[in-house]
Symmetry: C2
Subunit: 393 residues, 2 copies
């Protein structure tokens, strides 16, 4: 399972399992804990790859579901892979498409074979199997692939959670078989890490069992899926802690779908190395800025004549050059420069927070950082809306 050019190194460990480290890939090094912006359709909406890098983002996520449907993984493979196609000069993680399939609701149906769904673009029928998810991600050429999983909405009956966790395990085995077959065909070492996903809802015993089984298969890293879908913080923390306790210390851990400031600090405090979420970029497109004083919704009337910077404590180009009044005008006038500036700012803010998290772990001051972020931001909204995962804006 050794992949050429990859490594994970723990550099410093803090209290309670928090750690800083590095992930090396053929496309560069990532300091962890790291937040990956979501480049859904081969672009972090509104930004060039150079701008994404300038926000401090060292790794991006691209969506297998979206790229499979449009423009198609064969086309991206013909272009030389997702890095060349999209101009990403950094490591790229692809998801498996499982979460998007779940979010399609009535358009999707899970069987043992895979997730059958209809395209949100043209209604065409597709069957996303664990093998196809691997084939697509290999064609995309991402640095890190993940296995197809079954992610349930919250709440779900215990037997359904158990079934989904078991199916996720069987799909993980099939993904490994498919990857080995592909490598044998290629006759070359892997150029892609593969992460297994732990499901199990908010039942700690199911989480423990699922984690042990997935770890038993031996992956390059481990994703924690099925959280941040509506459960309480207490449930989320308990399930996360139960899962992380079963994961090997020398492999990266990835909490899927976490991007709210408080969740990032809380996840890092529990030993998570990687995060992704559409929240910072989606908030931006709705005119909501992550600032040192909390969320600022620049669309609001009270900012009409506020000629101060969006965040006085921020030195991003939007905050250095433009006013809240101007951003408000751009949003009300439907000008894309508004969402561009807001998107850059929000990612810049989040990456500044990730830097602060890494420093706090190294210095043993993460609890204080958590209290400060909690005081400004509170807890993340309890309920995610999975139906929005295929929305384009």
């Amino acid at each position: 399972m050794a992949a050429a050019g990859f490594a994970f190194t723990v550099v410093a460990e803090g209290e309670g399992g928090a750690r800083t480290g590095t992930i090396d890939t053929p496309h560069g090094r990532v300091a962890t804990p790291a937040f990956m912006p979501v480049g859904t359709q081969g672009t972090v909406k509104g930004l060039t790859p150079a701008e994404v890098a300038a926000t401090g983002s060292a790794m991006v996520l691209a969506n297998t579901y979206h790229l499979y449907l449009r423009p198609g993984h064969d086309l991206i493979a013909a272009a030389g892979g997702i890095h060349r196609f999209a101009g990403f000069n950094c490591p790229v993680l692809t998801d498996s498409g499982g979460f998007q399939a779940m979010s399609l609701g009535e358009l999707a149906r899970v069987t043992e074979e895979g997730a059958a769904f209809r395209s949100h673009i043209d209604g065409s029928r597709h069957l996303l199997t664990p093998e196809l998810a691997m084939e697509v991600q290999l064609a995309l050429g991402s640095d890190v692939a993940v296995t197809l999983d079954q992610c349930l909405p919250y709440p779900a009956p215990r037997d359904a959670v158990q079934d989904a966790a078991d199916r996720t395990l069987r799909w993980a085995e099939r993904a490994l078989v498919a990857q080995r077959a592909a490598l044998d065909r290629a006759g070359a070492p892997a150029r892609q890490w593969l992460f297994g996903i732990v499901q199990g809802g908010v039942s700690c015993d199911l989480r423990v069992a699922a984690a042990r089984a997935i770890v038993g298969l031996g992956f390059d890293g481990y994703a924690v899926g099925g959280l941040l879908v509506g459960e309480s913080k207490e449930e989320m923390y308990a399930a996360l802690e139960a899962t992380v306790a079963e994961l090997p210390a020398d492999r990266p851990r990835y909490l899927m779908g976490a991007g709210y400031p408080t969740d990032l600090v809380a996840g890092a405090a529990r030993g998570v190395d990687l995060f992704d979420c559409v929240m910072p970029t989606r908030l931006a497109r709705h005119g909501a800025l992550l600032t040192s004083a909390g969320l600022v919704t620049v669309r609001n009337a009270r900012f009409a004549r506020d000629f101060g910077p969006p965040d006085p404590a921020c030195d991003c180009p939007a905050c250095r050059t433009h006013s809240r009044a101007y951003l408000r005008h751009l949003f009300h006038a439907g000008e894309v420069l508004g969402l561009r500036l807001a998107t850059f700012h929000n990612l810049y803010y989040i990456q500044g927070l990730m830097r602060a998290i890494r420093e706090a772990i190294a210095q043993g001051t993460l609890p204080g950082l958590y209290e400060r972020v909690l005081a400004v931001y509170g807890q993340s909204p309890a309920k995610r809306d999975p139906g929005r995962c295929v929305e384009l804006w």
Copy 2:
């Protein structure tokens, strides 16, 4: 009428009246002939002010009609003017709103008092008088203002054209009176140039009469309005030549609404110093690129697997980093990065052409440049669609 910090200098003259020069303003110098991108609502759609400058654009146009309605000229004045509000570190020309009012069709009605219209945003009633157009532009603080004019669609009966030209003249006098009154109130020299507009349709005798009368009033520069609205190239050239022949050589000349490559060279050859048009940026938003090989509509299916640069002869960021296939994907996926990259590219192309025009005038090779551009681009589409002037995309 002397405005502090302004100057127009002819540097070199070519055959047939073509000339290169400089326009100095308190916000910087512009090499002429120059093309001004249109920043309709205080932003060149999709680009930051720094990017607009990086395309080689030294001066931008902002729309009085749009900014008057939203966010309002009083708000922009409170922000310190359009330069500070929008972050434009370059000279800004504002139009008078007359052309937008005309393009509103049934929403507008012209009387001697002004252009009465209903807002395309909320249907509210407004009366744009020559005096209000001056008040708004003074509040915006543009470097160059233009008088309110009455622009007719093409074709129009001769007596209607005559009426519109006469009314434009009377409105120009009222604008001058309003400007003088404002300067007297301020007790300071003008910080804004004022251009008069010559109307007269495609009737050369009406053009000559209108030009002489407007010049008789004495403006800082002269705009040629009412062309490129559907007339033939022969009619347009004849009317332009008849007008320019009556304009003083030591004042800048501005051909309103010209932005197609062939029109830019043809206009410069006839002694025009300034141009503006939404065409390069609007084409970009529809996925049409201005390239060294002519117009390339990257949305087309034949570019789906074209991994070459949009324009192999171009060194703009879009052409250095991205492929036609990627741009096509962005447009089909509805991603704003597509229109951003295309907008930057098209302005970069046009500003490269303007540089070539200036060099060709200085070297006496403009006729050859015209033949090459004509061979690649042909003549501009004959018919503009004035109804689209208030569209946001």
